[in-house]
Amino acid sequence: MNLLKEKVAIITGAAQGIGKGIAIKFAQEGAKVIIADINEEKAQITADEIDKTINSCVAVGLDVTNEPAIKKTIDQVIEDYGKIDILVNNAGIQPPKQPFYEIEGKMWDRALEVNLKSVFLCSKLIVPIFIKQGFGSIVNTASVAGPILWEGSLSYIASKTAVAQITRTMALELAPYNIRVNAVGPGHVDTELNKATFSVPGAREAMCSTVPLRRISLPKDLAGAFAFLASDKAGYITGHILYVDGGLSQNK
């Protein structure tokens, strides 16, 4: 339980869902966690819960598409903690399913901004600090989208596939500075956000049947992969997309 002892970690989109699972796991492994989420109220509730029961955790309201706001958050964390070890770019949205030829331009832009540009912006703004420190680890939330495909999610799939590709490219650029960049690619995950999907009778069973391990992940089942990649135990791993999908994608 000391995988991330004394590490300072910023996790975006961690008020709920997968991000909350990551925050809990990181705290359990000894990290001091900063939850950065656009939903400040929910972020605060989650942070209080972790801070009371596990380890130091604070919340900050942050729109990950707002460059000055990201800069301000990073500066504040440095002022408070003196360093940043880990950035988890997890904030993301899943636009409603629809045929791609019906997607409004604005909706496309929004998906790409929140899911992709945010990864670029947060990474770009934190890297000068990582370079100065001589260390740093970034873990992005990608998706099985890419290795596998489905209809009705063009902007989501485009954005998440791009996240995987910029993960590799950033890793190549940053390796000489001892900064590692990796991603986790979740498969089917049971979160509050997709309760509706699973509440349809038979939906869960149908989904499970496509997964070799015959189960759907909970956020806590993904969190270990983020913790491992962020940690020094993965010191020789960079530019990798680690799929946590029960075998769904067959590592394609």
Partner: protein
């Protein structure tokens, strides 16, 4: 401890990456089987583990021989009970040959050890794991399974690429029995095998930084840590995956 009371068979564990894995497994409480063709070295490894307070047994195994595979499973059960929790298929061989000088003998040996032995041992162990509805199988692929190396061992490269398919295939068929099958793909690692092949000077020089963006050649512990993670509760939903532990060397290869 992560692996208390777990039984782990590790092939090719008398030395190198396999030995490092055996060491990190016993430190987490596992009872380890050092399955190796070289019994003398395997027994030395067992002795070292016991001296540090661990539980281990050496079983002479030739994974190209079906009887030897069955014997390994039988002996393991005799020593540590019916249940087998972890199988790490580490045993492997790399025979360097100029492409025009390559022989059928070394091709067959490479495929028999690196691929055929891996499958048939996995099959035997999976039968037991399926009964208990749990198990972890870890295979060792290589960056050579993705890119051809300048030092030619065509059979090695092909066998290591095939390990990735074997991993996804086993994962697909064994997943419903709650057996996770994953692989790691190491880059060149500072083991005796590699030092013997290439010499000590191999690990030095500017080319290391050029070929390995993280700026160093891997140590066996890097591989052992990755395998330990894949066998842990934290990786319970990872299946059919090949985890690259390569210091970014495939990224560097793509850089043109």
């Amino acid at each position: 401890m992560e692996f208390t009371k777990k039984v782990a068979i590790i092939t090719g564990s008398a030395q190198g990456i396999g030995k490092e894995m055996a060491s990190s497994f016993f430190k987490e409480g596992a009872k380890v089987v050092i399955a190796d063709l070289n019994l003398e070295k395997a027994e030395e490894t067992v002795k070292e583990i016991k001296q540090q307070g661990g539980t281990a047994v050496a079983i002479k195994t030739d994974i190209t021989d079906m009887d030897s595979i069955k014997n390994l499973v039988k002996e393991t059960q005799k020593c540590f009970g019916k249940k087998i929790d972890i199988l790490a298929n580490v045993a492997g061989v790399c025979i360097q040959e100029d492409i025009f000088e390559s022989t059928e003998k070394s091709w067959d040996l490479t495929m028999n050890i690196n691929l055929k032995g891996m499958f048939f041992l996995s099959k035997e162990v999976a039968k037991i794991m399926a009964k208990y509805k749990q198990g972890k199988i870890i295979n060792i692929s290589s960056t050579s399974g993705y890119i051809t190396s300048t030092r030619c061992s065509m059979a090695y490269d092909v066998s290591k690429a095939a390990v990735r398919m074997l991993t996804t295939g086993l994962a697909e068929f064994l997943g419903p029995y709650n057996i996770n099958v994953n692989a790691i793909a190491p880059a060149t690692t500072k083991t005796q095998m590699i030092t013997d092949l290439f010499g000590d000077d191999y690990f030095k020089g500017e080319w290391v930084r050029t070929s390995y963006p993280l700026g160093r050649i891997a140590d066996p512990i890097d591989m052992a840590d990755a395998v330990k993670f894949l066998c842990s509760e934290d990786a319970k939903d990872i299946n059919g995956h090949t985890l690259l532990v390569d210091g970014g060397c495939l990224l560097a290869y793509r850089r043109k």
